[in-house]
């Protein structure tokens, strides 16, 4: 029997098999492959089968095998196409997930999500609207819409996308940079109509959120479950309501439709979108939280800045207050003796005063002039304390010199002076004039103001890195409050002469990098201690 088909021959040339195409040359050498891939679908092979006599069993069996094979092959091709589609989808979701997992910018997340839904390289829906739950969790509000408004715009957009040949990531980046705000504005009228109170349990959006599943709406204009206003706002009778839920929190609703092409949304589309909705909801929530966190941080930064400004203001005001207090105290200390001097001078000018009165007035003038001199001395000492002249000095020698000056005062007040000086004292790093002033001031204060003192001891001693100069008295112990007041400048406990004296000592010693301590003595009385460094330190200057 002559066969039309070349299926039974081996090593065929291209001219003998018209079905073998370029790139399929391997079929010339493999009869088995050629038979399976080409001959079974070749019309000549079918006709050859029909030419086999009907009573030949082989014809019947080969026909069955051929049909079964073609059916299985069709099924395999279908499965292959499905797998390819799913593979693309997984790749696409992976690409999206990467962006959604890393982005903290809400607008960027929305750009990726909305582009993925509406792009042909993504889910290929015509339009999408995102509704978000407001911060008070009272309303769902239209947030953004993406897609064409009409057929003309649709063709224009799709043509642009086709020609650009951008990947999904590039499309979403472009959307984020140049189209996001214009798309929001473009759909403003529709978005305004998409506000739904969350307590409205009958609304299809709230139903989707409550039931945590997507709802495919069909025949929307006649559907009793769909708000007619919603149907007319969207202008389509077929759309998908996709709830966005993250960790049991309702984030919003994704509405999508094929407004231009009217293509039906299939259950498979719905399933794919549902898979996509989970990471989108999570990414939106995270980005929203990050945005709020950022706002809170910004508020904190501003609050801190204000606080810092206020602190600086307080410091400035404190400085001004100190200056004011200093000025007022000096004015007070000058005005009192001046008033007395002037007053007595005027009284002297009156001829009615007796000789004895005149003498008394003159004595008062002399005393008050002396007070003015003290004021001047204190103010100048304060000024000098700002510019110390440091060097190594023998503290014992300094103590001897100062106490020697004060002997007349102590004698006048019946106070015994004891000197207890350490013979091995090292030289101390100090401003001789200022430390002399401090020692003089302390002894003077104790002798003049401290009640019940009849013995003062001036003592020097050495520590590890320090030398100590102490003035000890046997008077009444000072209260803690008074100790503090004694070293606070211009407190109202004394006149200027002593009001500035001890606080000035404290200032001078702080500038020396040393301390000034007033403490109780175990045996009774008070101890005024100056602790000095006996080595030079940079910060002391």
């Amino acid at each position: 029997m002559e066969f039309e088909c070349c299926w039974f021959n081996s090593g065929r040339s291209p001219l003998e098999c018209p079905n073998i195409e370029e790139g399929e040359e391997y079929l010339y050498t493999s009869q088995r492959k050629r038979l399976v891939e080409k001959c079974l679908t070749c019309p000549s092979f079918r006709r050859d089968l029909e030419r086999i006599p009907e009573d030949n069993e082989l014809r019947h069996i080969v026909s069955i095998l051929r049909e079964e094979y073609l059916e299985q092959r069709g099924h395999l091709n279908s499965l292959s196409a499905f797998l390819s589609s799913k593979s693309r989808e997984i790749k696409f979701l992976h690409e999206l997930s990467m962006v959604l997992q890393t982005s903290m910018d809400l607008d960027e997340v929305l750009s990726v999500a909305m582009t993925a839904i509406t792009s042909g390289k993504g889910f290929g829906m015509n339009r999408a609207f995102l509704l978000m739950t407001d911060p008070e969790r009272r309303y769902l509000r239209g947030h953004i819409g993406v897609g064409p408004r009409n057929y003309e715009e649709a063709w224009q957009i799709w043509d642009e996308v086709d020609r650009s040949n951008f990947s999904l990531a590039e499309l979403s980046r472009q959307f984020y940079k140049s189209k996001l705000s214009s798309e929001k504005a473009k759909f403003q009228d529709i978005l305004e109509h998409l506000t739904v109170p969350l307590h409205d349990g009958t609304h299809i959006f709230n139903r989707a959120l409550r039931e945590r599943r997507p709802i495919l709406v069909e025949n929307a204009f006649q559907n009793p479950e769909v708000d007619p206003v919603l149907a007319s706002t969207l202008g389509v009778d077929h759309f998908l309501v996709m709830p966005l839920i993250s960790r049991n929190r309702s984030i919003g609703i994704l509405l999508t439709d094929n407004f231009v092409t009217n293509k039906l949304i299939t259950p498979r589309d719905m399933q794919s979108l549902q898979t996509f909705a989970f990471p989108v909801a999570f990414a939106i929530e995270r980005a929203s939280l990050y945005e709020r966190l950022h706002e809170e941080v910004e508020k904190q930064v501003q609050a801190n800045q204000k606080l810092q400004e206020q602190q600086e203001l307080i410091v400035r005001m404190e400085k001004m207050a100190v200056v004011g207090r200093i000025t007022a105290t000096i004015a007070h200390s000058i005005r009192n003796p001046l008033a007395a001097i002037g007053g007595y001078a005027r009284a002297l000018l009156k001829s009615s005063a007796t000789l004895e009165q005149k003498r008394e007035y003159l004595e008062n003038i002399v005393v008050e002039a002396g007070h003015l001199d003290e004021v001047l001395h204190e103010v100048l000492s304060y000024s000098d304390s700002l510019h110390p002249v440091m060097d190594y000095w023998d503290l014992n020698q300094l103590a001897l010199a100062v106490t020697s000056e004060l002997k007349p005062l102590l004698r006048e007040r019946d106070i015994t002076l004891d000197l207890n000086l350490d013979a091995d004292l090292p030289a101390a790093w100090l401003d001789y004039k200022q430390i002399s002033y401090c020692l003089r001031t302390i002894v003077n204060h104790v002798a003049t103001n401290q009640p019940q003192v009849d013995r003062i001891e001036v003592q020097t001693s050495r520590g590890h890195d320090t030398v100590t100069l102490c003035v000890n008295d046997n008077g009444l112990a000072l209260t803690g409050e008074l100790k503090k007041a004694l070293t606070t400048p211009f407190t109202a406990i004394e006149k200027l002469g002593m009001g500035i004296g001890l606080p000035l000592c404290k200032v001078i010693l702080e500038r020396h990098g040393c301390s000034f301590v007033i403490e109780d003595r175990p045996e009774g009385g008070n101890r005024y201690c100056i602790v000095l460094q006996h080595k030079k330190e940079e910060k002391t200057l």
């Binding site: 007022a328 004015a331 007070h332 005005r335 007395a340 007053g343 007595y344 001078a345 009284a347």
Partner: protein
């Protein structure tokens, strides 16, 4: 005779004010502390008290509050080297306020004004 009480911790000021006001024809007593002032107030009544604000460790404003409560018939003049107390609410309780000066004319005028007001 009009009696005036001077309360000031500065001895020279007390003496000066006492002499000047005595020359003006007033009967004058002087105290250096609040305790001395209260002791004198127990013994005598005064028409005018001349009160210094800074009294060493005490405040004349404390005495002022006490006098306002207990001595309604006595005028109180604050006399101080500070001008800033004019704005202190506590100082507003006083009938007069004079800043210390070598020229005592302002103080004398203020005393006269208060005595005239009291006489009306």
């Amino acid at each position: 005779m009009t009696r005036i009480l001077i309360v000031d911790d500065e001895a020279s000021i007390r003496l000066l004010y006492s002499q000047e006001l005595t020359d003006e024809g007033y009967e004058v007593d002087a105290a250096g502390t609040i305790a001395e002032a209260l002791a004198l107030l127990k013994e005598k009544s005064y028409d005018v008290a001349l009160l210094d604000i800074k009294l060493k460790n005490e405040s004349g404003l404390d005495l002022l509050q006490q006098l306002v409560k207990e001595r309604h018939d006595m005028s109180v003049i604050l006399s101080t080297a500070f001008s800033c107390y004019r704005d202190d609410f506590s100082a507003w309780l006083a009938d007069g306020y004079v800043v210390k000066s070598s020229d005592m004319q302002e103080l004398k005028d203020e005393i006269k004004r208060l005595l005239e007001r009291k006489a009306r």
